[in-house]
Amino acid sequence: MNIDHPLIEVAYLLSAILFVVGLKRLQSPATARGGNALASLAMLVAIVATVVDAEILTWNGILTGVALGSLIGAIAARRVEMTEMPQLVGIFNGFGGGASALVAIAEFVGNPAIGAGSTGVTIMLGTLIGAVTFTGSFVAFAKLQGLMTGNPITFPGQNPFNAVVFLAVLALATTALGVGGLAVPTLTLFWIFLGVALLLGILTVIPIGGADMPVVISLLNSYSGLAASAAGFVIGNMVLIISGALVGAAGLILTMLMCKGMNRSLANVVFGGFGGEVAGVDRSQIGKRPVKRADAEAVAAELGYVNSVVVVPGYGLAVAQAQHELRKVGDLLVDRGVDVKYAIHPVAGRMPGHMNVLLAEADVSYDKLFDLDEINSDFDNTDAVLIVGANDVVNPAARDPESIIAGMPILDVDHARRVIVMKRSLSPGFAGIDNDLFYLDNTLMFFGDAKESMSDLVREVRELA
């Protein structure tokens, strides 16, 4: 702490308060934008205080870094498509973790003989968490962007191997702090430690499947906060410790919510290698049973003459970019006096709340978006449910204790009087199992590409009397 300049400490305190108040305003969509502005003001206060306080020898490098980073950040923020938001947040996590790691690394480079005191230990922690966040986030980005396979990459003995790598990281960190008195210079040991830490980030994310990315992104978000906190311990700065802790808490809460949304433990997501081919599931019968089909005209009639419709959007909607057409259908139905709501499963998108953003972008009013707990009791009184590109999250098999998705919270769409499933084919979802919903008496299958089907539906609803 800087006792010589109490005003600087007051500025940092003000910054921390503004961060908390800013986050608090995110509790309502009406105040959220102002909250984000307050948080950015908090950042500005912290930066100005630092610039005033720090003994800055040369400005050129600092200004170059600021200009370069701001430019890249601004371009990315303006250009990104809302469907690509998980990738963007993923890679930003990586940069945050990387920045914190670099702060810790620079401190070690400045004093390689720091030893195993509290600063030395926090340097190692900051470097480790930051490095894992950095490479882990890039792997998550590559998976989401389709630069590498979204399927889990597994090999025999993977978890024991990763455990050994983790122990090696700890051993290297300890020896780099001079414990054990190796003849190798501590700086050399530190670079090896950093290399293995970076490798660990890659190894921990590659076995995790594409649809589990909401959990991974949330977890890496938490790590990027912890890395910032660790950097705060390294340089003895409270605002870093506080802000990092806030982000760490946010990431952890979202991680737990995502796990709950899939009824899986964090350990199962991280070490399970879930997704892709699942052993022990009979897939031969998938899609063989008879279904009732409907075309756009029939679906329009099912939706246009009832009182209440609940739309269940899934990731397939976003992939087909059909959210704008969906909103048009919703508007036309509302004009006809139909009560239209949207039911959003926690893991409907590729990150927490992703589907809500996609619908908000398509101009769906946010008070029409309901989460699972809010809407599930409504399905008993719903005339028709329109499911677009969702599968596992509406699979009644989750109620069967024998199923591999047993206990996963689902939207109880089968309680509605009529269920319409808009889908390309009967192919299974991420869990790789058949969906009994498709074969129910009150279910109609509306096959086709979501965007084309939705355009057809817009036309047919318009033509209704």
Partner: protein, 92 residues
């Protein structure tokens, strides 16, 4: 109390505060929450400026500048994209 204990106390209390505040954020705002939190983790910029400002030698200077650039991507990109998203949330 040593500096480490003060830091740890602050860390724990901030985590608890964060938990109280963030648990109440509705699911519909979870993506902006995450991108906003992301921007806040760019607070590493403070550490980066301190390190770059007092850097001795090319390596430390380079590390400091790289840290500044990365943190600023997070700060500017994070707050801007969060604002862009929140601007889309409208009630009609």
């Amino acid at each position: 109390m040593g500096e480490l204990m003060i830091g740890l106390s602050v860390f724990v209390l901030a985590t608890l505060t964060g938990r109280e505040v963030i648990t109440k954020v509705p699911p519909t705002l979870h993506t902006p929450l995450m991108s906003g939190a992301n921007a806040i983790s760019g607070i590493a910029i403070v550490g980066a400026i301190v390190v770059a400002g007092r850097a001795e030698g090319a390596l430390q200077t380079g590390l400091g500048i790289a840290a500044i650039a990365m943190a600023m991507i997070n700060v500017v990109g994070g707050f801007m994209v969060t604002d862009r998203m929140l601007g889309m949330f409208r009630k009609r």
